[in-house]
């Protein structure tokens, strides 16, 4: 703790002395997309040699602000000062020249190039690659020893773990001599130990005088690693605090603008009969990689079974197999009757007929047809419902619209307009449309993937309550989420997946994030 306060004071003196201007200063930045004001008159100072966190709900304008700083968008108004000097950033090349490096949430790496090739890509010294490669090799070696940024320079990107790929992104920025590093949701894809390593790297970079902007929605990370934190809400910068002087509760309130419950209130589960049993589930993908390795578990009525794991360890495949979207080997039973995992009876319609509902992980790709009206999306998957089809030919649009309007009201979808295309709703409201469709169908088994990804805090609360209600009504719920907090607060029982295997099972009230984190990282039970 002493070091943190040390740094805070050092920084304070740095900021107060007029000789050292802030690394980044934004003055009155505004940006609108059509009628949507994404950034409203934003001013912020980021002290040199500090780690500055930016938090806010999805859609608060964090990414827009950083995109302006990196030259992807042009601000409608406002000025950018880098090290006290007014700087125009029309494109990302200008941003790089101004010493800004960006690590995107979705890496921008060439998968079948080596680390070295990715690092020099776009920064080659000459037409011949030899000299650049030799120079880069030396620089990488230096950076590796300075900042714990070890990566094998000749490894192909596709062979690296996600954590290592992220290091390559950081190396790319440092190779371009970035002084200011922006990281957008860097820990979303990392295991807890990889995240810890990342934070050590960031602290090391800070020691060397680099300035770091960390965009995240995870308050714990903000508390752990930042010196200062700014909170955005609906396009506005609502507060900037010294991290040492604030608390997660205060930050959460600032983000939402009112008090929120971070824990879900629920009673103890009353599990009933077994609804789903799975044995020896195995899936090999088109590339011959084994995605699910002989998975077995059971799920009972009235309980929420959470599947924890870092993204990409087989949870998505498990959901898709159970939802009938992919074929797999193995056996499954639904209420004692065999559930086909391959063949013509393995499809979305058959699953719905068996009272299995599915809230898919990717609502933009699967859960919704974005250009369709909300009412058309309400019929998605239930287009054969006799209520919607009064005759063998005609679909009763009016009946679906009326049904949608009622569902929208019960799920507080805003705006409650069934005629609006799905893409016109915010993330949280889109998710409510999907949930209303799947929950109100009254399933025996609900498969839910990432129920609150890209959903603002207000809607998260609502969605969690609805899931608990469904559980209490006697449905079995299989919950897949990469948010450990969500798994911990919603589930009654937790399975941890790693590399296509189930690493272990815990009761939610008898475990914690640390233990699950170790299991998610592949540490076997001891």
């Amino acid at each position: 703790m002493t070091t943190v306060t040390d740094q805070a004071t050092r920084q304070e003196t740095a900021a107060s002395s007029a000789q050292v201007p802030p690394a980044i200063e934004l003055r009155g930045i505004s940006k609108a997309f059509g009628p949507v004001q994404a950034n409203k008159n934003i001013s912020i100072k980021v002290a040199r040699g500090s780690i500055h966190g930016i938090v806010g709900e999805n859609g608060a304008g964090k990414s827009t602000l950083m995109s302006i700083l990196y030259g992807f968008y042009k601000a409608d108004a406002g000025e950018v000062y880098i090290n006290g000097k007014r700087t125009d950033i029309p494109d990302s090349l200008a941003a790089i020249r101004a010493g800004i490096g960006m690590v995107f949430q979705h890496f921008k790496l060439v998968e079948n190039f080596t680390v070295l090739e990715n690092v020099i890509l776009g920064a080659e010294d000459s037409a011949l690659l030899g000299p650049s490669r030799r120079r880069a090799r030396g620089v990488l070696k230096q950076l590796a020893s300075d900042f714990e940024l070890e990566v094998e320079p000749d490894a192909l990107i596709e062979e690296l773990s996600v954590g290592h790929q992220q290091r390559v992104e950081i190396l790319k920025a440092l190779y371009r001599e970035a002084d200011i590093l922006i990281l957008d949701e860097p820990t979303g894809v990392l295991t807890p130990s990889e995240a810890d390593h990342l934070f050590r790297i960031l602290r090391g970079l800070k020691e060397q005088g680099k300035t770091i902007i960390l965009i995240t929605h995870k308050l714990r990370e903000i508390m752990d690693v930042t010196d200062e934190v700014s909170v955005m809400r609906r396009g506005e910068m609502v507060a900037t605090r010294k991290t040492a002087d604030t608390s997660p509760t205060e930050l959460a309130e600032l983000m939402v603008g009112r008090k929120v419950l971070l824990r879900v209130e629920k009673t103890k589960a009353q599990p009933g009969d077994e609804v789903l049993r799975v044995e020896g589930l195995r899936l090999v993908d088109a590339q011959g990689v084994e995605r699910l390795r002989k998975i077995g578990f059971n799920l009972r009525a009235g309980e929420i079974l959470g599947i924890a794991g870092v993204a990409g360890n087989g949870q998505s495949e498990l959901l898709e197999v159970l939802a009938g979207l992919r074929e797999a080997e193995g056996k499954a039973w639904l209420r004692g009757a065999p559930l086909p995992l391959s063949g013509p009876e393995c499809n979305g319609q058959a699953r719905r007929a068996a009272r299995i509902a599915h809230v898919p992980e990717d609502r933009h790709r699967r859960g919704l047809v974005l250009p369709f009206h909300a009412w058309e999306n309400t019929a998605l998957g239930y287009h054969n419902d006799p209520r919607y089809n009064p005759s063998p030919w005609r679909m009763d649009g009016a009946a679906i619209v009326a049904d949608t309007a009622a569902k929208m009201e019960r799920f507080d979808v805003r705006p409650p307009n069934p005629q609006l295309p799905a893409e016109g709703f915010s993330g949280g409201n889109q998710q409510k449309i999907v949930l209303a469709r799947e929950i109100e169908y009254g399933p025996d088994l609900l498969l839910v993937g990432q129920p609150t990804r890209g959903v603002d805090i207000g809607a998260i609360e609502f969605i969690h309550q609805r899931l608990i209600q469904l559980r209490d009504a006697g449905a079995a719920i299989l919950l897949v989420s990469v948010e450990l907090d969500e798994i911990l607060s919603l589930s009654d029982r937790i399975l941890v997946m790693f590399d296509g295997r189930i690493m272990g099972e815990r009761m939610a009230d008898a475990t914690d994030a640390k233990e699950l984190g170790l299991m998610m990282a592949g540490m076997t039970e001891t």
Partner: protein
């Protein structure tokens, strides 16, 4: 995102309209550049296509062809299948019509029309079924296979005409004339029933009403039935369709059957209605024009209806222009090409400025 900011009415009317106007402006410059008067040319085209019931008759005859082939492309595109094979499917439709009319006895044209419709739609649909099946089950790209099937259709038709349908002793690779009882009523006869005079020369016939009816039927199918819902869902998002339990393979095959059937039905107009026998290359490129018509009509049946009439006008007006002025026939093709270029390929060139205008108006 910018395309989404245009109101729907502007998307379907204003954007194509501006595109067409731009194409005409460039055409006018071209005509002026070769020393002819653009104004006289426009007057000649409009007079030729719409100035008399004779002109109207030809314009509508061509438009009928384009409605059939345009609908075929539009339906397939709703499922994001690009059916380039309208030409071959329409040719096979012609074969279906010829076989039905030549080898079965028909007492009256109404029954003959019914039988010929079945033959035309069936042959066209079956010709589209093979590429559809290959796409659905084997992943062979529909664009490639339907293009190839156009060539196969042409050769196949050639073979059938020369070896089977050609009357003994004839040097002309065409079928015998269909029986008189199968002759379809022309538009002037239909309008005559209501006492409206109309030129007897142009070949426009009762298939025009069938084509217009099909525009409505296709719209109803796409937006009012479960099948249409599934087709559009598959077109907008295959993963979402799969999630909903809609089988992409099944819908792909059904859509291609419908599309091929619509293209095949064109034979009612040109083979049964006009030539009254099957000749080589009866389709004359209408299958390809259908692509432009669907593109311009935004793959909406009502858009196809309007675009088909526009292209009918270009065909008929262009023919008049070539006949009566010093403007070479090739320039007519250039004008048609410009319309296709502007409404199809350069769509965004028009759309983005219009979208900006709308957002400015909203802001201001």
């Amino acid at each position: 995102m910018s395309s989404k900011r245009i109101p729907n009415w502007a998307d379907v009317t204003l954007v194509p309209l501006v595109s067409v106007v731009l194409a005409f402006i460039i055409s006018a410059i071209l005509i002026w550049a070769i020393g002819e008067s653009p104004w006289a040319a426009v007057k000649m085209m409009v007079d030729g296509a719409f100035g008399s019931s004779y002109g109207w008759g030809y314009t509508l005859y061509y438009a009928t062809n384009f409605m059939f082939t345009g609908l075929a492309v539009a339906v397939a595109f709703q499922a994001r299948l690009f059916n380039i094979g309208g030409e071959g499917q329409a040719a096979l439709g012609g074969l279906g019509v010829a076989l039905v009319l030549l080898y079965l006895p028909w007492p009256h044209w109404t029954l003959a029309l019914l039988g010929a419709s079945v033959g035309a739609a069936l042959f066209g649909a079956l010709w589209a079924l093979i590429p559809g099946y290959l796409q659905a089950k084997r992943g062979s790209h529909i664009v490639i296979t339907t293009i190839m099937f156009n060539f196969i259709a042409a050769s196949f038709l050639n073979y059938m005409l020369v070896n089977f349908l050609r009357p003994v002793g004839s040097q002309d690779p065409s079928s015998p004339r269909f029986p008189d009882a199968t002759s379809l009523p022309k538009l002037h006869e239909i309008l005559g029933l209501f006492g409206i005079p109309f030129s007897k020369v142009p070949p426009v016939n009762i298939s025009l009403l069938i084509a217009v009816g099909l525009c409505f039927a296709v719209w109803w199918m796409l937006w009012r039935t479960r099948l249409g819902y599934q087709i559009r869902a598959l077109g907008e998002s295959e993963p979402a369709a799969q999630y909903a339990g809609i089988s992409p393979a099944r819908i792909t095959i059904i859509v291609m059957l419908i599309s091929g059937g619509l293209a095949g039905l064109m034979a009612l107009n040109n083979v049964m209605g006009e030539q009254e026998r099957l000749v080589l290359n009866a389709v004359e490129g209408a299958g390809f024009i259908g692509i432009a018509v669907a593109l311009m009509g935004r793959n909406h049946p009502f858009g196809v209806f309007l675009a088909a009439i526009l292209f009918g006008f270009l065909y008929q007006g262009g023919a008049e222009l070539a006949l009566w002025t010093g403007i070479p026939r090739e320039l007519i093709v250039v004008i048609q090409a410009l319309v296709i270029l502007f409404t199809g390929a350069l769509d965004n060139m028009v759309r983005i400025p219009i979208a900006k205008l709308f957002s400015l108006r909203r802001a201001g």
